[in-house]
Each structure stands twice: as structure tokens, then as C-alpha cells.
Amino acid sequence: MSLISMKFLLFVIVAAVGYYWIPKKYQWIWLLLFSYIYYVSGGLKVTCFLAFTTITTWLAGIRLEIIAQAEQDKTKRKRRKKQILVLTLLLNFGVLAVLKYTNFAITTYNLISGASYRELSLLLPLGISFYTFQSMGYLLDVYWDRTKAEHNLFRFALFVSFFPQILQGPIGRFSRLGEQLYASHRFDLQKAERSLLRILWGYFKKMVIADNAVIFVNAIFGEPERYSGLGIIAVLAYSIQLYCDFSGGMDVVIGIAGLFGIQMDENFKRPYFAISITDFWHRWHITLGTWMKDYVFYPVSLSGWMKHFSKFAKKVFGKQTGRTLPICLANLIVFLVVGIWHGAAWKFIVYGLYNGMIIAFSGLMAPRYRKWKQALHISDSNPGFHLFQILRTFVLVNISWFFDRADDVGTALRMMKYAVTKFDLSQLLSIEIGEASGTAYTLIFMTVILVGCLVVFVISLLQEQGRDLEGFYDRQHWLIKCMLFAGLFLLLPALGQPSGEAGGFIYAQF
């Protein structure tokens, strides 16, 4: 059920109205019911995978808790807990890896060895990456005693399957999300209004900006030779598309959860205002970043063999570099995983390592940067320097988007070269929009994208400055609010594009 289908709209309305109508103590059961209706509508077979992850993780959580309480011997306790943990992790990430990466392994092997094994047609359960990460996060939390195990299978099943988030995140934490899911909620008009507005805003970003930008992106990345002069436009349009598509989807998801009184973790914090790549990853797909930080970066950095490596590095490179080097290594591993997470292809691995290397490099250079800045009398609060940092980061991010979007690494590099050597804006007007209309509307929709981006920019800027926009909305006369709702709603058909043949959000593929 696509997030933009009529069915989904009606589904949400029925779910939300019923939620406040039934007795409060059954509210979580109601959510579980609708989450499973939603998931089963995508296919009964794939639901088995969801059930598998739910049940294994639930059992392992309880088991871990029992061991922690019953086993007196400390080393034994540790060992037994670890066994359970590793087994469950292997099972669940194993399923994910087999379903997502078998074909990548086959094609890579064919490429290297010259063999010609056929690719398999494997089911890919909806949102498998998201619910697997969320469940495994819970498991590790229980393992580290950060959270208590959930004993009720059905309550745990709701945490794994909560329908607004299952397709494209945000990846929730049990400690914050669980409680809210099981609590009873009273209807709160202010929250409901804000949530509805946020949903419309999300659709606006997706349909009016991203879906218009994608036409230009697909045209140029589809024929990089024909549109060789537009490399820069292509990647800018792609950065617009990615942000508006993904964060718009998040606005819809978080807004829908808000209708049920549930506050999900934010996944975006105006990423293009980031002042470094590290900062960017603190603002872009935040829940994936913090997941990686808590469950991959820290554990890897604090592992026994890293400790040995750290001692060795300190001897060889001196205290400061020796201390940072293992962290850089762990960081590279994280971004390798992030790259692989994005898709089974070499270009995504390059994309991940590119990010990882920049962060590692700036980590190593940080003390030197500090000295240089002191010597040049540049303060971090200098607005000019701040702007420079933002632009520099934006350029670095855009370079990474070439790898993310181009068909392969070679095309990405070629397009970057053309972007500089063959720059030619006039090609833009020859891009066709719509099946039969040719280029008649090209200029109009370019304007729509630009104006749309300007609106997003102004709102982001105000949010970045800490203005309370929702409070401002709350203070308006109800008639103005009505106009805002109706106007925003009407812009979707007036200026939006049909959302592709598949009608999907990019991040729903993961």
C-alpha cells in the first residue's frame, strides 16, 4: 500500500478515528491490528519474515534477561549472554543479507570468475532493513542492560511492525517508542492539527518538489552523454529530490504517528545547513546514524582487538594520532556498512567509503585545524566562515550524490568531469515533461521547483534560527488555518507530478 494511494488515506482515517473511539486500554491492540493489516496487504509470504524476526528477537530478549538474573557466575553469565546475542544477530542479519545481497554476490562472482550463474528471484519483504535494524537495536539494548526485555509477544510485535514507520523508518528505539505505543492516548486537537499539517507539508515536498525534480534527474542521469552540459544541474536536482523525497516521506510518517499521539524520533534536521560531513550525518537520516553509532561504531571501537591496535598505534605514531587512528578505522567500517545498507552495488560502497574517509581525515586533522584557525584568527562564530563551512560541506555532499545516483562508478566520474568541462545550461530547456507535451511545460515546472525550494529554504532557515513555527501556526485565526490546509492540499494536484509508475518513495526500497 503506497503512502500516496487513496487506499492508504482511507486506511489512516479509519485507523485514527477508531483509535480514539474504542476503549483506551485496547488502543495498542488496535494499532497492532492495523499494522498487520497493512503488512499483510503487501503479501502473506513476506509477513513470515516479519514474524520470524519478531519471534526470535522476543525470545532472545527474554532469554537474556533470565540469564542475567539466574546465572551467578560472572564469566559464565557473560558467555551465555553472548551466545544468545550472536545467534540471534546471525539469524536475523543472515536473512537480511541472503535476501538483499545474494544476487550481488552472484553477479560479482560471475564478473570475477567469468562464470554465468543465474540470478535468483528472491522475495524482499517490505521494510526489512528498517525492522531488522530496529529489532536488533532492541536486542543489543537488552544485552547491555539499557532496557528491560518486553515479555508480551504482541506488544513486542507492535514495536517491530508499527505501520507508519515500517516502510522507511525512522528506526525507533524501544526505550522511547515502546512506552508511547503501549500507553493510552487522549485525542489532542492541537497535536492532531499539527500532525495533519505536517503530513500535507510532507506530501508537498514529495509531490511538488521531489517529483518535479526527478524528471530532470532521470533525464540527465539517464543520458549523461546527451546532456553532458548539465552535470551540475543534475546533481543539484538530485540533492533536492533526495532531500524532499526522503524528508517529505518522514514528515508524512511522523505526522501519521502523531495522529495516534505517538512522537517518533526525527530523521532530518536541515542537513544542507551542515558545517561538516560529520555534522551532515548528524542531520541526515539521523536514526540510521545514531543506530550505527550506538550499535556499530562504539562496540567496534571498544572491542578488544581495537584496544590492542590502539596500544600499537600509540607506540608507532605517538599519542595523539595513535589515539585517533583506531577511531578512524572504526568509522570507515561504519560507513562501509552504511554504503552496503544503501544497496547491493559497488557504487554504494564507494559512496560509503567516500564519506567515511572525509570524516576520518578531518578527525585526524582536527588538532591541526584548531591551530591553523588560531593562527589565522578565524573564530567558529564568524558568519563568513560559517557560510564557507556550509558551502564546502554542500559541495562534498553533492560529489557523493554522483556516486549514489549514477549508474556506476565510471559514469559518476565521467559526469563530474563533464560538469566542469562541458557546462552548458541551455540544454535544460530541451528536457521533456509529460508524455505528449514535449518541452511546453519545462520552464513552468523549473519555476515550480525553484519556488518550492525557496519556500523550504525559508522555513528551514527559520527553524534553524529556533523560531517556533508551530506556535505561530497555533495563534492564527481558524479561518486562516482552514485556508492553509485547503491551499496546501490543492497545491498537490495543481503543481505536483504523478509520482512515477511505481508511485513510491525512494527510501521505501530498503
Partner: protein
């Protein structure tokens, strides 16, 4: 009372604004279409024979001629972008008024192996169909799966028409529109006349766009599912069902010989299994002596006939329909031997 002021009143207000703007946009942007005439006729008059299918049927079958030749009242509800799902609900709509004696389904295999995309006039049937239980079911079967803008804002697909707002409004205020007339559709190269599209093809270059050929591997299961529903609906109500495929240019047949052969083999077997007569007018045994098969007199490679050819074809189709469905196949098979 508090609820009324805080929720219901603003809610109604938003709905009111949306409804007013929506009505205006639908009126001003969506041009008058012959689908409106078809829907009006289907909802108000009774027919013995109903033609369902695609643009090939719309361009190739003159209901007026078939009516004259068979002595049974006819309506042609073939449309470009009409998948078996749409055909099924069109039939349901017709049957709300009266149940026909015969349904002729014009089969274009391309509609059985492509996704029902958001192309052409696909939304038109939904928009023009008067509300009834058949439309509600159609809504549930088709519109629910689509982008919510398709169902809520039918003008969405016509927003590019804003330059023609004046003409559209003028047309909709004309007497012709109010009387479901077809004057608006008379253009030099084609017109909606006698209940079908009559092409006046100039013997010039023919567009050779990509033709959707039969590909068994990409079967659209929904098309098959809804055709099955159509078949059982006809059986239940004792409606005779005939399936036909209209002639395409000789050039196209030669170029895509393999696909056309596969398509014929597949659907002949499929229809035979279900005991449904299938007349494929591209087969040698169905050849018409007086029909010109050269690309010259078609509008395009895909096989949209011109008006004169359509009349010849309609005469032949009437003759075959008069013979009775099973006899036709027998006669052709005998000729063949």
C-alpha cells in the same frame, strides 16, 4: 457544542473550500469528452449489443452499421486505455439499466501484458460515470490503488489545459454540451460520429511508435482476473460473449510476425478452453476481400482504421454476428480446409 466549534466547523470549512475549488477546476480544465456521451447513453438507454475494448474497437466498429445489419441496438464502449478491469465495470454499469443480449469484447493483447499505468484517458471513465453501486465498486477496484489525487482531484491530469480554460468553459455552456451532442468532436482528421471515432486518414507518414506487443512473460494478472469476472458475469446473466481482434496493417503483421503468431496461439487456446468464440481478423481465414490491409489507409502502425475501412469492417462483423458465434468459426475452419 465545543466539538462543533473546534473540529466540525473548521473541518466542514476546509471541505467546502476544497469542494468549491475542485468543482470549478473540473469544470474549467477537463475538456468535454465523448466518454460523457457514452456514459449518458449507457445510463439512460437499453442496448442489445455492447462493444467493450480498446481504441482499436473505438476506431473500427460503427455501432450504427452493426445495429442496422443485425437489427439489434448497439453501443460502442471501447476506449483507449480501457483495461479488462474497466470493461468489466462498464458492463456492470450498462447492466444497471438493462442486461444486453450480447457482449463483443475487442481484444488488444497489449492490455494484457502491461501495467495499468496512469496514461491516456484512464481516469475518464471514473470521472464521467454517474454515481451508482457499479461506480462505487469500480472506485474500490481501481481508484483505491491509485494516487489519491486521481480519485479526489480528477482535474489533476488536465492541469496542463489551463491555456484552454476559455474554450473549455464556452464549450460546456453550449447547447450541444447540455444535450450530449457531438459537435465539439468534429475535427478535420477525425470525428465522433454515429457512436464511434471516424478517422479521415491522409495517406502520409505513419507514426511508428512503440507498439505494445504480446509478451506472455509479463502477463498482467489483473487483466486476466477481470476478464474471467466478465466471462462469469455474462454466463450468469445469459449474455452471449464474443471476443474479436481487429485487423492491423499488413506491414505491422510482417514486422512483428512472431509476436502476433504467439498472441494468436495463446488467446485462441485460452478462449477455446473457456468455450468463448474468438475471431481474430488478422488470420488468413478471416480475411475480407474488400478490405485494404495496407498501412496506407490506417492511421498508424498500431492499426487504428480510417472511417471507410471501419464501415467495411463493421459490415463484415455484423455478418459474422448474424451467423451466430459458433457457426462463424466452423465456416472459417471449413474454408480453411
Amino acid at each position: 457544542m465545543r466539538n462543533f466549534k473546534k473540529i466540525i466547523l473548521p473541518g466542514l470549512c476546509v471541505i467546502l473550500i476544497l469542494a468549491v475549488v475542485n468543482t470549478f477546476m473540473n469544470y474549467a480544465l477537463i475538456p468535454y469528452s465523448y466518454v460523457r456521451i457514452m456514459m449518458h447513453q449507457a445510463a439512460t438507454e437499453e442496448y442489445d449489443t455492447v462493444f467493450l475494448g480498446t481504441s482499436h474497437g473505438l476506431n473500427g466498429i460503427s455501432p450504427k452499421i452493426v445495429e442496422r445489419e443485425t437489427g439489434r441496438s448497439c453501443i460502442n464502449l471501447c476506449l483507449g486505455g480501457e483495461y479488462p478491469r474497466d470493461s468489466y465495470y462498464l458492463l456492470r454499469k450498462v447492466c444497471e439499466k438493462s442486461i444486453p443480449k450480447r457482449v463483443v469484447y475487442e481484444l488488444d493483447a497489449g492490455y494484457w501484458c502491461t501495467e495499468e499505468g496512469q496514461r491516456g484517458d484512464f481516469n475518464r471513465i471514473y470521472y464521467e460515470m454517474p454515481w451508482s453501486s457499479a461506480k462505487l465498486e469500480y472506485f474500490a477496484a481501481k481508484m483505491l490503488e491509485l494516487d489519491f489525487r486521481a480519485a479526489l482531484f480528477p482535474w489533476f491530469y488536465y492541469r496542463g489545459q489551463f491555456k484552454e480554460i476559455k474554450e473549455t468553459i464556452a464549450c460546456k455552456q453550449s447547447q450541444d454540451y447540455k444535450e450530449y451532442g457531438s459537435q465539439a468532436f468534429q475535427k478535420p482528421h477525425q470525428g465522433f460520429v454515429d457512436g464511434f471515432i471516424k478517422n479521415n486518414t491522409a495517406p502520409s507518414d505513419k507514426p511508428e511508435e512503440e507498439i505494445e506487443l504480446w509478451n506472455e512473460k509479463q502477463k498482467n494478472l489483473d487483466s486476466f482476473r477481470y476478464f474471467e469476472k466478465l466471462v462469469s458475469f455474462c454466463r450468469k446473466h445469459n449474455v452471449e460473449l464474443v471476443v474479436i481482434t481487429t485487423p492491423v496493417p499488413q506491414e505491422t503483421l510482417e514486422k512483428h510476425q512472431k509476436e502476433y503468431q504467439q498472441m494468436n496461439a495463446y488467446f485462441s487456446a485460452y478462449m477455446r478452453e473457456r468455450g468463448i468464440p474468438y475471431w481474430n481478423y488478422n488470420l488468413p481465414e478471416y480475411k475480407m476481400d474488400d478490405f485494404d490491409y495496407s498501412l496506407r489507409i490506417f492511421s498508424d502502425y498500431e492499426g487504428h482504421m480510417n472511417g471507410d475501412q471501419a464501415e467495411i469492417f463493421s459490415l463484415r462483423l455484423s455478418k459474422d454476428l448474424n451467423r451466430g458465434s459458433y457457426e462463424v468459426e466452423e465456416i472459417h475452419n471449413r474454408d480453411d480446409n
